[in-house]
């Protein structure tokens, strides 16, 4: 019964309980000793990066983003192997949502749980998911695969329409230019070519190329040392390449 942590869209914190009691609700139901609950609560507050002082406050005293973190901590309280998150960030404004998404990706690196993440936002699915299941009306599976597979090879018009006509651009955003420079034989980089760092997304690289009217983009390391170059042609291939690309999953930037 407590092997799945559950996070819902409107968080659903219990307004009459302190933040500590909210996070500790499942341990309390399980009859943990008070000391152990208190200790676990402070661990979890730390994990979701909330100040320990929040423990004694009530949900109404927290912002939407803070409440969502408490909801996350509550779901993680007894360390369930699987988490079900049903549109967890749907009620947040775009800026807060983006920040919480990034924080959750960071958190996921730490806790390494299987997360079933339900969303209606394809961009969120691409950003958050290792594998994405697209469901059509009636809950029928339309396609299941990595973001790159979905964007590169939608199985039918429904999926193609769902991932959007700009799927080529979205696909570019999955790749970092640093990973692309090795794909091609060395290119002569003109001296006046615009330059980006290796961790720039291919999508941003395309934008830079477009606005500079150049055809070749220099790629440099963090220290500015040249690593190679990508061309407009190269990016076009990446956006629409026929075969799946290795190591497609990456953090959107």
């Amino acid at each position: 019964m407590w092997s799945i942590g559950y996070v819902i869209q409107h968080v659903g914190l219990f307004p009459h309980m302190t933040i500590a009691a909210n996070i500790g609700v499942v341990p309390t139901l399980l009859g943990w000793p008070k000391d152990r609950i208190r200790q676990r609560v402070s661990e979890l507050l730390d994990l979701v990066r909330l100040d320990p002082g929040f423990a004694r406050r009530y949900p109404a005293q927290l912002s939407g983003g803070q409440q969502q973190r408490v909801g996350l901590a509550r779901a993680l309280a007894v360390d369930p192997p699987v988490m079900l998150m049903d549109e967890p960030f749907g009620a947040l404004d775009p800026i807060t949502r983006s920040r919480i998404q990034n924080e959750f990706l960071r958190l996921q690196q730490q806790i390494k749980k299987t997360v079933i993440f339900v969303t209606h936002d394809i961009d969120e699915a691409i950003k958050m998911g290792d594998r994405i299941a697209v469901l059509r009306e009636g809950g029928i599976l339309a396609q299941y695969g990595t973001a790159d597979e979905l964007l590169g090879h939608p199985v039918d018009d429904y999926v193609a329409d769902f991932v959007g006509a700009d799927r080529g651009l979205k696909r570019l955003s999955l790749r970092r230019v640093g990973d692309l420079v090795g794909d091609q034989p060395a290119i002569r980089v003109p001296a006046d070519a615009p330059a980006v760092t290796a961790d720039t997304s291919a999508r941003v690289a395309l934008s830079v190329l477009f606005t500079s009217s150049a055809n070749v983009l220099a790629v440099t390391g963090e220290d500015g040392a040249p690593l190679g170059a990508v061309t407009l042609e190269h990016l076009r291939e990446v956006a629409g390449a026929a075969e799946p690309l290795a190591g497609a999953k990456g953090q959107a930037r």
């Binding site: 019964m1 407590w2 559950y6 819902i8 869209q9 409107h10 968080v11 659903g12 914190l13 219990f14 307004p15 009459h16 309980m17 302190t18 609700v25 499942v26 139901l29 406050r57 009530y58 949900p59 109404a60 005293q61 927290l62 912002s63 939407g64 909801g71 509550r74």
Partner: protein, 250 residues
């Protein structure tokens, strides 16, 4: 009438049996003053204090019993719609009966007693207490009950750990109105049996001595205000979360 006269709070009691002798405060007061403070201080110990205590006692019993029955009924009605409609119909009917008629209706059954008074007063609390309790139980946001079920609470745990505590502000709001109403109605109870602050008021109605009327009336008003204030403080103490508000941007 003679029963009322015998209970009249005068330092020099009138002779029993005859017509009520106009009471001018037993000589402690000039005969034509509207309000005589001397009378109040002289009669606090023998009359006003005990009447106030009786009034508090009558009110506590009525509101206490009314609250227990209303809460139980609201909890039951939360699950069953037919019971809600039935209880609302009954309590609305009771509420529309004039107070004196209500009290008199039970006199043949329970006599000129405290029981008769309490039946009436309890009957009047149902509508306010039941409705507020049920509204409170139902006002819990769906995402909160969904989350409660999501963390593994049984339906029973959801009800008692989530619905009931979240209904407290609404229940307390009903309790405040019911208490003030009962304190006011309880003055009429002296019509049945000489108890509470209504007793000196009824007595004074038969005299030209207004001090007693004013003193008892003002005490009833003060009692209502103090009771309401105490309930506000009690509500703040038991629902600290209801006043907790966001500081800073949401």
């Amino acid at each position: 009438m003679s029963a009322l006269a015998a209970a009249a709070p005068t330092p020099t009691p009138p002779p029993g049996g005859g017509p009520v002798i106009p009471n001018f405060g037993g000589g402690a007061c000039p005969s034509h003053t509207t309000f005589c403070w001397n009378w109040v201080t002289q009669n606090w110990g023998p009359e006003l204090g005990p009447r106030l205590a009786e009034h508090v006692y009558i009110t506590l019993i009525a509101v206490g019993i009314g609250l227990v029955i209303s809460l139980a009924a609201a909890m039951y009605a939360y699950q069953r719609g037919w019971f809600e409609r039935g209880f609302i119909a009954l309590s609305t009917l009771l509420y529309t009966i004039p107070a004196v008629a209500f009290f008199l209706f039970f006199v043949p059954i329970t006599g000129l007693s405290l029981t008769t008074i309490e039946i009436g007063l309890v009957g009047y609390t149902f509508l306010l207490l039941f409705r507020n309790a049920l509204t409170g139980l139902r006002s819990v946001p769906p995402e909160v009950t969904a989350a409660a079920a999501g963390v593994g609470m049984t339906p029973r745990q959801v009800f008692f750990r989530i619905n009931v505590p979240l209904a407290v502000p609404s229940i307390m709001a009903g309790l405040r109105i019911a208490t003030v109403t009962t304190i006011s109605l309880a003055t009429i109870a002296a019509y049945i049996t000489p108890l509470g602050l209504g007793e000196p008021i009824f007595t004074a109605l038969h005299t030209v001595f207004t001090t007693e009327l004013i003193a008892a009336g003002v005490l009833a008003i003060l009692l209502a205000l103090v009771a309401d204030g105490l309930l506000v403080l009690a509500q703040r103490a038991v629902t600290p979360w209801a006043r907790a508000r966001l500081r800073g941007a949401r």
